[in-house]
Symmetry: C2
Subunit: 397 residues, 2 copies
């Protein structure tokens, strides 16, 4: 008699995005003339840049001729892309060996799959509010989860608490959903805590390309000692608009050992056994991101989104609304005006301004009373949305 | 203190393909003039067909314009591809709902990841010889594995043994590495056994497109009752030469329940939590395989490989060497001449005929004394290799 993994029964169904869609659709049905603007989505909207498109066409041509056709590639990624990634890290002052880098189909896959190499008995620390995948993937394995409070008093950047012991620690910086970004001193505290407790930090750097200030770290490995206690996950999704093209990468340093074993070797074993590498075509496209042209072009897109973020934060500044994010992140996280609840404000924003956002409580208890807007829309729509926002809530700011 | 998943320490390192490469390279170094032909690889060599190339270029163009750009897609695959797959199954007489089909980056990923939804206490049945991934992925989870003997007396197609109880049953047909293919009556016995014991069959159909005889099943669901006891894995890798392009699919029927829960819902939850879908570009390419042109073109490639298989089996027939596979599979599995051991024959074939193949014992105990050749080389090289084979071992046939 085959049995299911009963841990799955403990996962809470998330109704966040379906409920957002339901309420937005209901409003549209009742107000067919309304011009509803969506600032809730966490997905890019700008097309792939020309350097990437050119690389894609060229790689497709490679696949059309016997001489240049590519079959199975290395599970951990082609050397040409790993070399580009090594150079990218070197620009941040981080020296990596090419075999410390693993190319994958995205950070979400790796963030889930990395748990394969850890004991089910590990205790997991996640901040609240949080990207729901960190929680659900651990519930699937039956791990104990402890939460760390992110809130206004710590600017949604909680620091280690010596009274809370944890084996695996999730850090996402710049953060989803709050947009908050740790500085060097704060990350140094986390690295010290992890080293002292022999914990492993699972560092989600998916939004590192939005960091606007050179003094802020874009990789955990910019912190001394991090190679002995951290795995870093990153992605081309937000960097280069690859959400529908699918490519990410994970760094497992050789120096990271637990129970006397190199985690790099464990992850290599996991990936060679349960994964067969990323499409050659997609890897060629990812490598094009790091050419001179590619870099210039992707930063045009990133700056486009950053201008939208500024449109949003300028409005919140004018209204005197507390927020974080926006400067080093495509996300802006703010306190709902008039002490409204997240969903209450969702309805108010929709009915008064015809703008759809994301209620903060969908990301955890500490998100109650907060709200997330994203900068992934067009300039025109973002400006119009914030004009309406200001008109609707200006008196209450 | 973070701890590793100690089950990983129980995985046996496989030296099969590295040892094959080492011996071949050593021979090349010692005999620089030798024209060594490789018939060991399990990878396609023919380029992607024109219909697929055209779809790839078109999809790349979609990604270059705001209006047609695609961000995150459904984790379980785009409707356009799932509709094509549903129609493909309908041609085999299998009716599926579109939401019973999940698109992925390949059968290897899904075969590994599917285990997430099953209890670690399930006992697993695998045939010997076997695709090593079935074994290693279960060792990683600490499951008990029992083996079923595939051998000459059962034509490497073992049938259920009521004395062996198992919860999860791996069946690969046409088989890797033996090329043997179950008929309808044999699969009916497996379905009956699984239903009686409430087991779940994990059916690897990656080579179904090589089945040449309409009376042989190309899907487990051609067998009555299979939807209540089987999950099917398939791939575009061998069907359309996607080994380096990466696309596969898995079918989890709604009728399949264990412990009172639909496994379809569990797999959907797994994939939406730990996966973010396959590249839009690749899914468009996969859908092109099912156009009239695409089907015609991929079968030209499949038939090209089948001609190579015939070149190999004709030689073995002439030499009176026992074999299976080749007719409905790109693999030919044969008894080593002169009662040689697998590695002994590897060395003899390399030195006498300058041909590289794969020793059967790399796939399990029952592979000892057997050998695998593949049909993925060119006509020219396959003919030359078998001419040399016949010359070297003809007197011993």
């Amino acid at each position: 008699m085959a049995h299911i993994n009963a841990n799955y029964l403990n996962i809470k169904e998330s109704y966040l995005f379906s409920e957002v869609a339901n309420r937005a659709n209901k409003y549209k049905a009742e107000n067919p003339g309304a011009d509803v603007i969506r600032l809730g989505i966490g997905d890019v909207t700008r097309p792939l840049c020309p350097a990437v498109i050119e690389a894609l066409h060229s790689a497709v041509n490679d696949m059309s001729e016997t001489e240049t056709f590519k079959g199975y590639g290395p599970e951990q990624g082609y050397g040409f892309l790993k070399e580009s990634l090594r150079a990218y890290y070197a620009e941040k002052g981080v020296e990596l060996d090419i075999d410390e880098i693993f190319v994958s189909d995205g950070a979400k896959s790796d963030l889930g799959n990395i748990l394969d190499i850890f004991s089910k008995d590990n205790v997991v620390l996640v901040p609240d509010p949080v990207y729901p995948v960190y929680v659900d993937t651990n519930i699937m394995d039956g791990r104990k989860i402890v939460y760390l409070s992110a809130n206004e008093s710590n600017n949604f950047l909680p620091l280690p608490d010596e009274n809370i012991k944890a084996d695996l620690i999730y850090i996402c910086s710049p953060n989803n959903p709050t947009g908050a970004c740790y500085n060097r001193e704060q990350l140094t505290q986390w690295v010290a805590y992890a080293r002292k407790n022999n914990s492993v930090i699972l560092y989600d750097a998916a939004y590192e390309c939005f960091v606007s200030d050179d003094s802020l770290p874009r990789s955990i490995y910019e912190i001394e000692g991090a190679k002995e206690c951290a795995i870093e996950f990153c992605s081309f999704s937000k960097t280069a608009g690859f959400t529908g093209t699918r490519c990410g990468y994970t760094v497992v340093p050789f120096a990271l050992e637990r129970d006397g074993h190199k985690l790099n070797k464990f992850w290599l074993r996991r990936q060679t056994t349960k994964f067969n590498g990323v499409s050659y075509i997609v890897q060629k496209a990812a490598a094009a991101v790091f050419t001179e042209e590619g870099k210039k072009q992707i930063y045009e897109n990133i700056n486009y989104y950053k201008e939208n973020a500024k449109t949003i934060t300028d409005t919140l500044d004018r209204l005197g609304i507390w927020y974080c994010g926006g400067k080093h992140s495509p996300y802006i996280w703010f306190r709902c005006p008039d002490n409204m609840g997240s969903w209450e404000f969702f309805d108010a924003l929709l009915s008064k301004a015809n703008v759809v956002g994301t209620p903060g409580e969908g990301f955890g208890e500490n998100g109650k009373g907060y709200f997330r807007l994203t900068s992934f829309s067009t300039h025109e729509n973002t400006k119009e949305a914030m004009k309406r926002f200001e008109k609707a809530f200006g008196n209450n700011g």
